[in-house]
């Protein structure tokens, strides 16, 4: 589904990302772990063509992302609050994304209804603009918005950060449900090794811009990762 070849990103002579080859298959649930500055967000930004690669290429479903835009209908992402429009109410934001992804109001409503638990009554019909919501609630809106329009690839950067424990549990359930769908490829990055091993069937660890571990999740994965990161 996603193929990365000889991808490199350099800022003023410092290489922040260097990946020889990475192939992510359709239906895979892909977890990306690493310390600050490991290159997780850089990789996601390159996948979404938000920054220009210094060398190499990214292809989603065979479409090279910086050459054509035909990959956009397949992919949805939430990296940070720059993916939210502050002066809209949550409902307006969901409908806006829905219209961009060719969904009518009824199907967006159905999706919102399904995730009412996740919202915990703090999002919908609250007469607040997105800019006035707390960081955690903003994140809930961003995450649910990525589910609109049946995307084939869902990219979430640090989805667990800023969320309360209950919501973290619910989010894990949402991601697992997505991962069970064999048509959907989920990419999640996190600092939290436990969360990531729980929701992903493949884990890639990055360090200083390079892939240092690439493992299929098993019972021992968490321990292996903890040993790796405990220095």
């Amino acid at each position: 589904m996603i193929e990365v070849n000889n991808l490199r990103k350099t800022y003023n002579g410092t290489t922040v990302l260097n990946i020889g080859h990475l192939q992510i298959e359709q239906g895979e649930s892909f977890g990306l772990v690493g310390n600050n500055g490991a290159g997780k967000t850089t990789l996601f930004s390159l996948l979404l063509d938000l920054i220009e690669p210094s060398a190499g290429q990214v292809a989603i479903n065979g479409i090279q992302v910086n050459k054509s835009e035909a990959w956009k209908p397949l992919v949805s992402a939430f990296l940070d609050e720059t993916f939210l429009i502050g002066y809209l109410t949550p409902e307006e934001y969901f409908y806006f994304i829905g219209e961009l992804r060719g969904q009518n109001k009824a199907s967006v409503d159905a999706l919102l209804h399904k995730h009412e638990d996740f919202f915990n009554g703090e999002i919908l019909k609250n007469k607040k603009y997105l800019r006035d919501l707390s960081k955690g609630n903003q994140k809930k809106v961003g995450i649910v918005a990525t589910l609109i329009g049946n995307p084939q690839v869902v990219i979430l950067d640090e989805p667990f950060a800023n969320l309360d424990p209950t919501t973290q549990f619910r989010l894990k359930k949402i991601i697992k449900d997505l991962a069970d769908d064999k048509n959907v490829t989920v990419l999640v990055s996190s600092h939290d090794l436990a969360h990531t091993t729980e929701v992903s069937n493949r884990i890639v660890a990055m360090h200083k811009g390079e892939i240092v571990k690439d493992i299929k999740t098993s019972a021992e994965t968490l321990k292996e990762l903890e040993e790796f990161f405990a220095v």
């Binding site: 979404l48 920054i51 993916f83 502050g86 961009l100």
Partner: protein, 490 residues
């Protein structure tokens, strides 16, 4: 402490992503500044002799008579054009710095503005001439102090007006009313104020009034902002009650409707963008200065053509110049969603067309000055729709200054949609129609001139799609640098 603040400011300027365009604009603004310095200097040195020779009156008395207009113009220019500097206050709050120091710095920063310094070039030479001509030096010095105090008052008033919409509108109405009363000879305010300004020179104590007013204003402003330095007051702004709105009537625009709806919400729900609407209404009245023939230098055809572009183009200039910067806060979203650039651009274009058409209809009261004036305005409107709308979109793609919509809710936020920068990048858009008019007028008269302007506008409409494609290419080529420039918030 102030030195540290200045160091922060310098870093913020030199490390801004938009530094390149910033420097180009600063150079242009420098040239404009030099021009005004020249004018003020010439005025300051020459005005004494001109009045003395031609009017045979005491020059100081004449100057004092008109001083009220000088001060009013200063305030108008400030309100319209002076950009209120923003300082990033949040990170400073928990540091061991007194709140009072932060406010003092923010206020002091507004004083170091061209709009204040400019006056030195008038008052200093004028005062020197007065002393050389044998006026009482102490009187001149006190007059000078008083003038300076009043200019500082203007500066503070501007900051306060900037923070309150009601004050802003009230101020505009007051100026229009006073100007109107004087123009129609009903009430001449200079009779009263002339005496006051003269007494600043002729007595040794009246100067205390402006100085006391200045101190009072400073204390008031200072207190006003200290109160605003809390995260839940001035630095955050109140949480409005939000209503979900649908704007179903816009659905007739098809796939573009989704963007149009969003843009209308953008304009209505953010202060900075809301002022674009206020400005475009004000610009409709801008033509009055030109068409009434009240001001001699404006009373000629090319200047009237110049005004006619502004009358209908206010919204286009204040809003259009900053497309796509209005969407800077969520540009990564726009770039990763399934969005056709064409529809995005077309929706902004339609918005400007709607703004121009509405202005043209509202401007129909200019028919009072004759059908020709209104024809001129309509020709200007066609030109705005056909050509200028495309030019602003083209230029906007290169203006990569992020607009932080939320900052406008803060105490020292950027609330004005129009400032000297906008004005300077607008100027070229006025010069082409003037040139067209002059050519047409030279060939067979004014009507041909208007025809040329409107005709060029229509040509622009015909080539609209080609222009959209060109703009789209620029958007694509500039995508990465725009994204990284928008990442910085001021």
């Amino acid at each position: 402490m102030f030195k540290k603040f200045l160091w922060l400011e310098w870093k913020a300027f030199t490390r801004a992503a938009s530094l390149g365009t910033n420097i180009a604009l600063k150079i242009l603004m420098g040239l404009v500044a030099l021009y005004f310095i020249g004018v003020f200097l010439a005025l300051g040195i020459g005005v004494y002799f001109v009045i003395d020779e031609h009017l045979h009156q005491d020059p100081l008395v004449v100057i004092n008579k008109f001083m009220i207009y000088y001060m009013a113009m200063d305030l108008v220019m400030r309100v319209m054009l002076q950009k209120i500097p923003i300082i990033n206050i949040r990170p400073l709050l928990v540091l061991p710095i007194k709140r009072s120091t932060i406010v003092n710095f923010a206020l002091a920063k507004t004083f170091v503005s061209f709009f204040t310094i400019m006056h030195v070039f008038f008052f200093v030479p004028f005062s020197i001439v007065l002393i050389m001509k044998g006026y009482d030096p102490l009187g001149v010095a006190l007059w000078w102090v008083a003038m300076w105090a009043m200019i500082y008052c203007n500066n503070l008033l501007n900051i306060l007006i900037n923070n309150k919409d009601s004050l802003f509108i009230g101020f505009i109405v007051l100026i229009l009313a006073l100007g109107g009363l004087q123009y129609y000879g009903i009430y001449d305010i200079t009779l009263v104020t002339g005496v006051y300004y003269q007494s600043l020179f002729s007595t040794y104590y009246v100067f205390i009034i402006p100085v006391v007013v200045l101190i009072g204003l400073w204390v008031f402003t200072h207190k006003y902002f200290i109160k605003k330095l809390y995260l839940d007051t001035g630095l955050k702004g109140k949480n409005e009650i939000a209503e979900t709105q649908d704007f179903k009537w816009l659905n007739r625009f098809g796939s573009m409707a989704v963007f149009l709806k969003n843009d209308i919400k953008l304009i209505l729900r953010n202060k900075r963008s809301k002022t674009t609407v206020i400005m475009s209404v004000l610009f409709i009245f801008y033509g009055l200065l030109f068409y009434t023939g009240g001001i001699e230098v404006y009373d000629n055809q090319p200047m009237k053509v110049f005004a006619s572009i502004f009358v209908t183009g206010g919204f286009l200039l204040t809003f259009g110049q900053f497309v796509p910067s209005w969407d800077s806060a969520y540009y990564p979203l726009m770039m990763s969603q399934n969005i056709q650039y064409r529809e995005y651009i077309a929706s902004k274009w339609w918005l400007m067309v709607i703004g121009t058409v509405v202005s043209a209809v509202l401007a129909s009261f200019y028919l009072y000055f004759g059908i020709e004036i209104y024809l001129m305005i309509l020709a200007g409107a066609v030109f705005n729709i056909g050509v200028n709308s495309l030019l602003v979109l083209l230029g906007g793609a290169f203006v990569k200054t992020p607009i932080d919509l939320t900052s406008s809710k803060q105490a020292f936020g950027d609330k004005k949609a129009f400032n000297i920068k906008t004005f300077i990048i607008s100027l070229p858009k006025m010069l082409v129609p003037i040139a067209l008019f002059v050519i047409g007028n030279y060939i067979s008269g004014p009507l041909m001139g208007y025809g040329f302007i409107a005709g060029t506008g229509l040509l622009g409409l015909i080539f609209r799609n080609a222009a959209f494609r060109a703009i789209e290419r620029i958007y694509k080529a500039e995508k990465y640098s725009t994204l990284s420039a928008y990442k910085q918030k001021n």
